[in-house]
């Protein structure tokens, strides 16, 4: 008896779903003449990965819809009634310079590069940053290194605002941030010596004038000698020797871009520029062990951060 009831209910549900799906699909394609265009930067694995995720998820959300792709060097095909997604800062710069006035979603772009775009008084422009929000980074430290109170920040020419923001968030979370400026030729050496007199959690920031493939070796080694863990912003940092990193993958950024685009096609406005909702946490258990730090599993840390943010994983 029960079984036959549930069969009937399932059939009704299937019918409803099919009806709603068809209607929605028809509605979005109805195309108020808005068509999606993706502007690509020069080929790179990260961009390809983001593009693939964008296509796949768009297909999932709006079956049958394929975005047009354009190379950043030739934007003559851009026109009205197009929703533009850029991948990478090269593409973002080209679109910003092109005079295109329609809605643009810049993805896979650092916050600083977005700030440098000449957007002027143009219409809807938004972004999904690669950078992680300060709240998330500080939450990571609170969650994974609960005994650590001291936060060390190295500020460079391109990161003074970012380090200030991290420091402010850290203070709100009752941590003790210290900022040193690594400005002059020998500034990084002196700054690190001062910053790490006592062990502290050093947060790496995406300022290439301070953190780059040349300086990272000495930063990691100096921090290690001072028994100070480093928090990176990419899995490469963790592989190099940072104890933890929180980051969003190109696939996650592509997925969120598809979600925004599909909402946009159904009439929503672009959300404000923000970091990706999806993220990963990577951990280096060897370095943790050597520093005598008891570290939880990376996935568990991520899940609990996501729970805290109320994000969907």
């Amino acid at each position: 008896m029960l079984r036959s009831h549930s069969r009937i209910l399932a059939s009704i549900a299937a019918l409803c779903t099919a009806f709603v799906g068809t209607t929605l699909a028809a509605g979005t394609q109805m195309p108020a003449a808005i068509s999606p265009v993706v502007v690509l930067s020069d080929p790179a694995p990260a961009y390809d990965e983001a593009m693939r995720a964008l296509r796949k998820n768009l297909q999932r959300l709006v079956p049958g819809l394929q975005p047009t792709t354009l190379d950043w060097r030739d934007l003559t095909a851009l026109g009205r009634n197009q929703a533009v997604v850029t991948i990478g800062s090269q593409a973002a710069g080209a679109v910003a310079r092109s005079g295109f006035r329609g809605p643009v979603l810049h993805t896979l772009i650092p916050r600083s590069a977005f700030a440098d775009l000449d957007i002027g008084a143009r219409g809807q422009v938004s972004a999904i940053f690669i950078d992680q929000p300060a709240d998330r980074q500080i939450a990571l430290i609170r969650r994974a290194l609960p005994r650590w109170r001291k936060i060390a920040l190295l500020s460079g020419p391109n990161s003074s605002e970012l380090t200030r923001q991290l420091a402010a968030t850290a203070l709100e979370q009752r941590l003790l941030p210290t900022i040193e400026t690594a400005g002059s030729d020998d500034g990084l050496y002196a700054a690190l010596q001062k910053l790490l007199i006592e062990p502290a959690v050093l947060i790496a920031t995406p300022d290439p004038s301070v953190f780059n493939s040349y300086t990272i070796q000495n930063i990691l080694l100096t921090a290690y000698r001072q028994r100070s863990p480093v928090i990176g912003f990419s899995p490469a940092y963790v592989r190099a020797g940072a104890i933890l990193a929180v980051y969003s993958t190109p696939r996650q950024i592509g997925t969120q871009a598809a979600e925004i685009l599909s909402a946009q096609l159904s009439g929503s406005r672009l959300p404000p520029p923000e970091s990706c909702h999806y993220f990963e946490v990577a951990a280096n258990p060897h370095v943790a062990r050597s520093l005598g730090i008891d570290l939880d599993d990376a996935d568990r840390i991520r899940d609990s951060l996501a729970d805290g943010e109320g994000a969907h994983q």
Binding site: S41, A44, P45, A46, G88, S89, Q90, L108, I109, P110, S112, A113, I130, R147, D185, D186, L188, Y189, L192, I197, E198, P199, P206, P208, S209, F211, N212, S213, Y214, T215, I216, Q217, N218, L220, L221, T222, Y224, R225, Q226, R227, F233, S234, A236, Y237, R239, A240, G241, Y247, P250, N284, H286, V287, R289, S290, L291, G292, D294
Partner: protein
């Protein structure tokens, strides 16, 4: 050689420059930049490359220090803050901070160090390594010649001391105790540094260091002079000039080249006041080395490295003894002539003494670290060493003594569940003069809680006799008649290696977020075939000498020793620059072997080895910083009565206390960081640490250090 790391590590090291590698401003930079070949500027990047770009593995397996609770034995780490706070001018002094070690000064320029006794005037059962290079020089009597280490004490990042036998990791010379000195990477040196000491007993030291940033490489150059007049009652003035360099170059993203070189030139006063048989003179020593290490880091857990070093040492110490001057000066010359004639010697009979020597050492080693599974890691490698020794006075031949040793080592670390860490390791060595010997070890660490660990380890080690022990043949002959005057040491053919079997149990506890550390180790070390110097050995045929008659000392495997004891270390360190610690060691040697001569009332009437450790020793050390850059430190040590191979009762060193105090003030002179300090050594009464006849006086000196 390294191990997995049986000892907290191994070399650290690295690498680059802190400043952006964009320019080669000065001509030196240009030359070096060209020499280094290029790639000095980072490629232009898209902004997001910072996020997606790859980075070299920096903290790779060989650079990560093994946590103390995972080491297969007890370790003590002396870091830079502790080195500086100690005020030490000589590296050997720092071992006073390690429980179980004995430290003394044979003279102002010859420190003696040993772990768990069994010492003599040249203890040779412990090993010192500097950036992976063995500083053990057993060629001519002395085991560790501290004065020949070229590294500036300011350039040391840390000293890792493995308390116990570690032959399983480093081979025969690491029989009892290993001291690993790890220098700071070149890039982690101030751009310029000048340090000076000025004080009692003619202390005048000056040292300087420079750092050059060369894009993908960094270079440190250090040089300095150390001089003093030694101890008040000894002829032991010294002047030591040192130069040292280190270049860290990342030649490819996954590769690194590390070059070290050093030079030491010393002028040491030798001899004994009012003893014509040991005239006052100067000995000249030169030591130089070059070392290159290539490291390929495939991942954080797989690394391959090859290290080669070449080292040369030369020493000049020649004088002539006029035999008539060694006789009682109150005798009339005619009587002296008659005495000499009675032995068939002419009035101008003399003995030329020339301890000139030369040592050339080449060593190459390959080491591979890899992870086998998620819970196990393997370190293995092989090495070969060749020593060429030349010293006609010591070996009674003008030919080189050539010693070749090959070694193979492997260590497997297995993390059995979350609480157990098991370690199996061994080193097999084969020298051209003997059989192959394998020194194995097994250890198990059990984590009672995340902060508390129990350790158990059992090991077997062999110490292959040194060339001096095996082949030393020291004869003093009169120049004109060729008559043998004294036969100090005859060759000790057929000497077997000493064999050590060690068992230990340890407890390591960390409390209050690691501010408090408790380290307890109890152990039993049994040594069979202990090599002792038999002073009464009969001379070989034709070896009858004028002064020693038919006796010619020889080394023999006559001893047997059982060392039992406990070492405790309690440290409270609330911050990196504040600590207070207490070390205590209780040692007991039960031995069989050579005793003093019963007929001589001045001789010690027991087995000599038993008195080579103090039953009790302790150290209290503290360092505290105050506002405005002030700091104060104190090291107080107590050493129970012991002797350093002094066979005569009157040479037993009574128990003594020693206190060293240091006050320092850090300040800034513009952009220069400065520190002024006053160090007071042996602040109590004049104690003796090597022989009661050699009291070490109180000594103070001022230091000034400037860093840019």
């Amino acid at each position: 050689m390294t191990e997995p790391k049986a000892v907290p590590h191994k070399i650290a090291e690295p690498v680059q420059t802190f400043s952006q590698p964009r320019k080669c401003r000065r001509w030196t930079r240009i030359v070096l930049c060209l020499a280094i070949g290029g790639k000095l500027a980072p490629p232009s990047q898209a902004a997001e490359d910072t996020f997606f770009g790859d980075l070299p593995v920096v903290l790779s397996a060989s650079r990560l220090m093994q946590p103390q609770d995972e080491a297969p034995g007890a370790t003590t780490i002396i870091d830079r803050a502790m080195i500086r706070a100690s005020g030490a001018r000589d590296l050997a002094e720092l071992l006073r901070l390690v429980p179980g070690f004995q430290v003394a000064s044979r003279s102002g320029h010859t420190p003696l160090t040993t772990y768990h006794g069994l010492s003599d005037d040249a203890p040779r059962r412990m090993l010192v390594r500097v950036d992976g290079r063995s500083a053990y020089s057993p060629y001519f009597v002395s085991g560790i010649e501290w004065g020949k280490i070229s590294v500036d004490i300011e350039d040391i990042d840390r000293i890792e001391v493995f308390r116990g036998s570690n032959a399983a990791a480093y081979g025969t010379n690491a029989f009892l105790g290993v001291v690993n000195i790890v220098t700071r990477p070149a890039a982690d040196t101030p751009r310029a540094r000048v340090t000076s000491n000025l004080g009692d007993d003619g202390i005048r030291d000056t040292r300087a260091a420079l750092r050059l940033d060369l894009g993908s490489a960094a270079l440190r150059l250090s040089a300095g002079r150390q001089q003093d007049e030694g101890q008040p009652d000894l002829a032991d003035n010294r002047r030591v000039d040192r130069a040292d360099m280190r270049l860290d170059w990342r030649n490819a993203p996954d590769q690194q080249i590390e070059i070290h070189a050093g030079l030491v030139n010393s002028k040491l006063e030798m001899g004994t006041f009012d003893d014509p048989s040991d005239p006052l003179r100067n000995r000249g020593d030169d030591a130089a080395f070059g070392q290159i290490r290539w490291r390929l880091t495939r991942s954080a857990e797989e690394e391959l490295q090859v290290t080669y070093f070449h080292q040369e040492e030369r020493s000049r110490d020649a004088y002539r003894l006029l035999l008539r001057e060694t006789l009682d000066p109150r005798l009339p010359p005619a009587v002296i002539d008659a005495v000499l004639a009675g032995y068939g010697l002419t009035p101008d009979a003399n003995v030329p003494v020339d301890f000139a020597n030369r040592v050339i050492r080449d060593d190459i080693e390959l080491e591979h670290v890899q992870r086998l599974r998620h819970d196990s890691r393997l370190v293995w490698g092989a090495g070969h060493r060749e020593d060429r020794l030349w010293s006609p006075a010591i070996f009674n031949t003008d030919d080189d003594i050539v010693n070749r040793t090959s070694r193979l080592f492997g260590h497997l670390e297995w993390r059995a569940g979350s609480r157990w860490l098991l370690n199996f390791g061994a080193t097999a060595e084969k020298s051209n003069s003997g059989k192959m010997h394998t020194s194995p070890r097994f250890s198990a660490n059990y984590h009672l809680t995340p902060g508390q660990t129990l350790k158990f380890s059992v090991s077997r080690a062999y110490r292959i006799p040194t060339p001096f022990e095996a082949r030393g043949d020291v004869q003093f002959r009169e120049a004109i008649s060729g008559r043998l005057i004294r036969y100090t040491l005859q060759p000790s053919n057929g000497l077997d290696p000493e064999r050590l079997t060690a068992t230990e149990l340890g407890y390591l506890g960390n409390f209050l977020n690691k501010r408090v550390t408790v380290d307890l180790r109890v152990f039993e070390e049994r040594i069979d075939d202990l090599i002792e110097r038999d002073k009464d050995a009969p001379a070989p045929a034709g070896g009858t000498s004028l002064l020693s008659g038919n006796v010619a000392p020889q080394y023999r495997n006559t001893g047997e020793a059982q060392i039992r004891g406990a070492e405790l270390s309690l440290v409270y360190r609330p911050a990196l620059n504040r600590w207070i610690g207490l070390n205590y060691a209780n040692l007991d040697i039960n031995a069989k072997g050579v005793t003093g001569t019963l007929a001589d009332p001045l001789q010690i009437h027991e087995v000599l080895a038993t008195t080579t450790v103090p039953t009790e020793s302790a150290a209290l050390f503290a360092h505290w910083t105050f506002g405005e850059g002030w700091s104060a430190s104190v090291i107080h040590t107590f050493t129970g009565s012991m002797n350093w191979y002094a066979t005569r009762t009157r040479l037993i060193v009574p128990a003594y206390h020693r206190t060293d105090v240091r006050f320092a003030r850090r300040f800034a002179l513009g952009r220069t960081r400065a520190e002024a300090a006053l160090t007071l050594q042996n602040a109590g009464s004049g104690n003796a640490d090597f022989s009661p006849e050699q009291a070490i006086g109180r000594r103070s000196f001022l230091s000034l250090s400037l860093e840019l």
